[in-house]
């Protein structure tokens, strides 16, 4: 049945392989507009890189110049020297941050997708209420939650451990909402029904059918989660120095006053590298999902 359906659509596709009006003039206008827009949006990044390359005497120059006149890597060198001098070896902070980021992101993607799948594709008592609860909790201000959160963490014995960052990240709200919305859009019910006929278990359907199709969704979620966890600085739940994170350690360095302004700029450039890498990898893997062809109605 399904095979025939796909054949039919392939035939159809051959007949009308065209899309609505795409004029050359429109394309040129589009690219020009994008060029200008991109240039403007990139300013902060160029600015940050430039600041990090400026020697101290240029940082406080008047009138200020956008580009560094005598670019130097001294700020990076100084940062490196300060890092090797630190009380706790810098590698420890780096490890902490990588560990928290990777464990938290992987767990969040898997748990949130597992929960989003039944919420999106099945109706059962409580499903609607659970989803509404999750969606509305996005709108409660986090600022007043520190005290209640501390109470929960200390009840569970999570204070002063990595788990106080990682486990709440597993249950963060954004991921479930995102995954559920994408499953609503991308997974046709017929596909799951035909898998049922083939005798697939729930786990098979989730892992072998749903997850590959919603790849663009979890690649996107990966960016959000990595960005969020990577930038985790000081938290009230961790007080042992050797368990603290890289942003915390670096912010301590940049607090060293005016003379470290250039180093501060170098820090922001270095801190952006890992999320940027993840971002590029994720974006270049988001390709149209053709797997659903001919299944949707």
């Amino acid at each position: 049945m399904i095979g025939m359906k796909i054949m039919g659509i392939k035939k159809k596709r051959k007949i009308m392989k065209r899309r609505v009006s795409r004029s050359v003039r429109g394309d040129i206008a589009l690219y020009l507009f994008l060029l200008v827009f991109v240039a403007v949006m990139m300013l902060p990044l160029i600015f940050a890189v430039n600041m990090s390359l400026k020697p101290l005497n240029e940082l406080w120059l008047f009138p200020p110049r956008f580009f560094a006149v005598n670019p130097t890597l001294k700020n990076y060198y100084d940062l490196f020297r300060l890092m090797t001098d630190s009380w706790i070896p810098m590698s420890r902070y780096i490890f902490n941050t990588f560990f928290i980021t990777i464990a938290g992101t992987a767990g969040h993607i898997i748990l949130a997708s597992m929960a989003a799948y039944p919420l999106s594709k099945y109706k059962f008592p409580g499903s609607n209420m659970i989803f509404r609860l999750i969606r509305s909790s996005l709108m409660f201000s986090g600022a007043v939650l520190a005290v209640p959160n501390y109470l929960v963490m200390s009840t569970l014995g999570l204070i002063d451990s990595y788990l106080s960052i990682i486990i709440p990240a597993f249950g963060s709200t954004l991921g479930l909402f995102l995954m559920k919305q994408f499953m609503d859009q991308m997974i046709p019910d017929e596909l799951l029904k035909s898998a049922d006929i083939d005798g697939a278990t729930e786990w098979d359907k989730f892992w072998k059918i749903v997850m590959p199709i919603v790849k663009p969704a979890w690649l996107t979620l990966m960016i959000f989660s990595v960005q969020n966890l990577w930038n985790t600085g000081a938290t009230p739940y961790i007080y042992t120095e050797s368990k603290k994170t890289l942003p915390y350690a670096l912010s301590q360095i940049s607090l060293g006053g005016l003379s470290r302004a250039g180093i501060g700029a170098a820090i922001s450039v270095i801190m952006i590298l890992f999320p940027l890498m993840v971002f590029i990898i994720s974006q270049s893997n988001i390709i149209e999902t053709m797997a659903t062809s001919g299944m949707k109605d």
Binding site: L111, A115, S284
Partner: protein, 326 residues
């Protein structure tokens, strides 16, 4: 069997017949639900790990905080129940709260829809360009969001001392004779804050729109062309947008949470309290009471009010989005 009313029950003037009927119907309803729930054992199993963590670290703290909003709580002493006093104080006594509420609504009404539109429009524009180029453009457009706190950059740009770029340029061109205190003057603060927020609008919603557009099967566009769609705008309205309604709803919630939670941009630009409270928002007011003045009960009341405002605006926006493509 056990649900049958017994004779003795009838002998006493127990619940009226109508009421008993309702009870029976509720019981039958519950039994039916229970049967359906039993059938979905696997589904509950899938949700369980996430739900346990979500309840422990989100639901419990939120409920606790809502309860705290009816108390006086200074973190050191045990909370003392004071009924609705916090709420009365908010709306009757606290003029700064009223001012911050007005600011918040103004910021939300301006930045929410505009940033939503920018994100959607840009995602749609770059959806059609070749893949490698698209990735590059996406990376560059998302760069401000990756860079996180761009406020420090804008702070330097608008600064009124020797490091300020804007003043330096305007002075050089002779447009002004003395530096303008952009970030200290209430007339400039609000537009600057709005500008910086809109600059950062290609964030979470932008990426989810991109992924959503990529999830649309090409055959729909082809079918649309056959059905007589003649230009890009019609295609957008009748084909693309209806097919990405889930992402539109997601983006709306992100927009609402973002635009009602404006706070860090203001403090990043103007310091803890903006001049004359000209850009003071509800979130900043909340942080002021929660983390500076240690009045957690009062701060929780502010959070609860903000929560109610956001939930109701989300309901309104959902209704709007459901009209897309009609």
């Amino acid at each position: 069997m056990f649900n049958q009313p017994t004779v003795s029950n009838k002998a006493f003037a127990g619940p009226a017949a109508g009421e008993r009927n309702i009870m029976r119907r509720i019981k039958a309803d519950l039994a039916c639900k229970w049967r359906i729930a039993k059938k979905h054992k696997m589904q509950y199993l899938f949700i369980m790990p996430y739900l346990v963590i979500f309840v422990a670290f989100t639901v419990v703290p939120v409920v606790m905080s809502m309860c705290l909003s009816f108390t006086y709580f200074n973190i050191l002493e045990f909370p003392r129940f004071i009924g609705l006093q916090n709420y009365f104080r908010l709306f009757v006594d606290d003029r700064i709260f009223i001012k911050s509420l007005a600011n918040t609504i103004m910021f939300a009404v301006v930045t929410g829809p505009v940033s939503y539109m920018i994100a959607l429009f840009m995602a749609w524009l770059i959806n059609d360009i070749p893949r490698t180029l698209r990735v590059i453009v996406t990376v560059l457009l998302y760069a401000p969001s990756l860079a996180g706190g761009m406020t420090n950059i804008f702070r330097i740009f608008f600064s009124s001392d020797a490091t300020g770029y804007l003043n330096a340029i305007l002075l050089k061109w002779g447009i002004i004779n003395e530096p303008i205190k952009y970030l200290e003057n209430p007339d400039y603060i609000v537009p600057i804050v709005i500008f910086v927020i809109l600059w950062g609008s290609l964030g979470t919603q932008f990426l989810s729109f991109i992924a959503g557009l990529q999830g649309i099967d090409r055959q729909y566009y082809e079918a649309g062309a056959v059905d007589g769609i003649t230009n890009r705008w019609q295609e957008l309205w009748y084909v693309t947008l209806p097919l990405m309604k889930p992402q539109l709803l997601f983006g709306a919630v992100i927009s609402i949470t973002g635009s009602f939670n404006i706070g860090s941009v203001v403090t990043g630009l103007t310091g803890t309290i903006s001049a004359d409270y000209s850009a003071h928002t509800v979130v900043l007011h909340l942080q002021d009471y929660g983390t500076t003045k240690f009045e957690m009960g009062y701060a929780s009341a502010i959070a609860t009010v903000l929560f109610i405002i956001m939930i109701s605006s989300n309901m309104a926006v959902r209704k709007l989005i459901n009209k897309v493509g009609e």
